[in-house]
């Protein structure tokens, strides 16, 4: 299956809190954060749990499955980098473990609750997280 994003290329500005996440993704691993005391899964990476505030936060692998919470179809690229991509679809996905993430998905019919599965793809040297219909 072709990746959900063909042309648009914007390099992520990673930081000290996120570097590990991008490195994992580049190595083919989809992980999010999980707090040790309660097992809350969350995203994006931060040095404190967004549910309970615990500082004991660790990378945790996720199954990659989730459901579509919402989506958009972009018809007009407001950033020049994505002019060649339109129309394109972005989904908000609630992972089975609980964290919420955004990603590209191939254009086509969608509905809330649709099962999707994470896919890791490459756009000219940049590794990104996307989704496929499950």
């Amino acid at each position: 299956m072709s990746p959900p994003q063909q042309k648009g290329r914007v390099r992520p500005e990673t930081d000290r809190d996120s570097a590990w996440w991008w490195e994992a993704l580049s190595s083919g691993r989809f992980e999010v954060c999980r707090c040790a005391p309660h097992g809350h899964y969350f995203f994006p990476p931060a040095p404190g749990c967004s549910t309970c505030g615990s500082p004991d936060v660790r990378p945790a692998a996720v199954c990659g499955f989730g459901v579509v919470y919402s989506w958009i179809v972009v018809h007009k690229a407001l950033d020049p980098a994505f002019v060649g991509d339109t129309p394109y679809t972005i989904v908000t996905v609630d992972l089975d473990e609980g964290a919420r993430v955004f990603g590209r998905i191939e254009n086509g019919p969608l509905e809330a609750g649709q099962r999707v599965c994470a896919t890791i793809y490459n756009v000219r040297g940049i590794t990104l997280l996307g989704f496929e219909r499950a």
Binding site: V10, D15, S70, V73, D85, V123, L128
Partner: protein, 402 residues
């Protein structure tokens, strides 16, 4: 005004903040809303501030405070405006940086400073070259979570709010007809507002032939970016009476940085419910702060960077029930002569995007009875909001005694 202690606020009960009922907005100043401006941001800010002072007849030397808000460094500082206006020592300045969630909050903060005795007359402004300079609606800004959005083409506010709107439509049953209703009704007001940039009336048929920017938004569902500035003068009710200046009294106020509001202004990974925004969260405190109810309000000026913001605002503040906002608008309740005129200047959608400072200014003019062609007869109370995602603020303004 005996018992205004909040009755429905979380325990322990809070005393009513002292600035409420004791401060308000007198002067209001605008620049033109420009699509081809050559003025600097500072030039626009000074022009609007001078106009606000002239509007209420206050001498520049009487100003001892300046407050403002910007976004990602697109504005100028209160310090620069104080200098450009040739003001004396300022005893209170505030430079906020959280965009459209903060016009009401900036006014509220100025009012708090006045009630606390830190300042007497505070100019609150917003200035931007949103058309010819930094475009808030489409420019990429690096922030902690932009790394998760920009590389996938999730780059701008129309997209973020469309993502919320889709879910809102799924859960509440709202449709594109409801978005159209917002656009069509507000154009009717804009047609009568000389400040508005978009002034042509629009029919449902005309709405639906517009192209999508991002589903479900068409061009006309999005605010029009302009170069412009708006300023208001906040002072005490006592000073306004002594001066004989009409005042819109700040009767209620609330701010919220919602729990789970994320790591920056465009982050909503941790916000679980895209169908309820900041206005739902602050509403109980807003009403408790003034002892009023939605049914007591004559006008609502609702921050509308995009059309569904009005649906969120009407439902969030409790003017209508869940899923009822679209029909409420189509039935004419928010139009001139309706039970709750909404966005009487045509909204940010049509007047131009001065980031909601113009929403506050319109509310003040309405309550002072100076809103010209769009004046709502006998308007005594007005709700005004700022912000449509996870952070936001709101005010209740009441007609002052002359």
């Amino acid at each position: 005004m005996g018992s205004l202690v909040a009755t429905s606020s979380p325990s322990p009960k809070r005393e009513r903040p002292s600035f409420l009922g004791a401060t308000g907005i007198t002067g209001v100043g605008y620049t033109n809303m420009r699509r081809h401006g050559k003025s600097s941001v500072l030039g626009l800010a000074l022009e609007a501030c001078r106009a606000a002072l002239a509007d209420c007849g206050l001498a520049a030397e009487e100003v001892d405070g300046v407050a403002s808000f910007g976004l990602f460094g697109d504005s100028v500082t209160s310090q620069a405006v104080g200098t450009g206006l040739g003001l004396g020592d300022l005893t209170y300045t505030l430079d906020l940086n959280n965009g459209g969630s903060q016009p009401c909050f900036a006014v509220m903060s100025a009012a708090m400073a006045i009630a606390a005795g830190l300042a007497h007359n505070v100019l609150v402004f917003r200035a931007l070259t949103g058309r010819t300079g930094t475009k808030v609606g489409s420019t990429r800004f690096e922030s902690p979570t932009s790394q998760y959005r920009y590389p996938i083409g999730f780059t701008a506010y129309p997209y973020y709010i469309a993502m919320w709107a889709r879910r809102f439509m799924i859960e509440t049953g709202a449709t594109e007809n409801d978005l159209a209703a917002v656009v069509i009704s507000q154009r009717e007001y804009a047609a009568r507002n000389e400040r508005a940039v978009r002034r042509n009336r629009i029919t449902s048929e005309e709405y639906f032939v517009r192209e999508y920017v991002v589903e479900p938004f068409r061009t006309v569902d999005c605010t029009v970016e302009v170069d412009g500035a708006v300023a208001v003068l906040v002072t005490s009710t006592d000073r306004a009476s002594a001066q004989g200046a009409p005042i819109a009294v700040i009767e209620g106020a609330a701010w919220v940085t919602g729990s789970g509001s994320g790591l920056d202004i465009a982050d909503f990974h941790s916000w679980r419910d895209f169908t309820r925004n900041c206005q739902f969260r602050l509403a109980p405190r807003l009403w408790a702060s003034c002892g009023l109810r939605p049914a007591d309000i004559d006008i609502a000026e609702i921050y509308d960077c995009f059309s569904p913001a009005v649906l969120y605002g009407l439902e969030g503040l409790g003017f209508v029930g869940r899923g009822e906002a679209g029909a409420f608008i189509r039935d004419g309740h928010t139009s001139a002569g309706g039970s709750l005129p909404v966005n009487t200047h045509g909204g940010l959608l049509n007047e131009g995007y001065v980031h909601g400072m113009n929403t506050v200014a319109e509310a003040a003019l309405q309550i002072q009875g100076r809103a010209g062609a769009v004046q709502v007869a006998d308007a005594e109370t007005c709700a005004v909001t700022s912000g449509v995602l996870v952070d936001g603020s709101a005010l209740i303004l009441r007609k002052g005694d002359r």
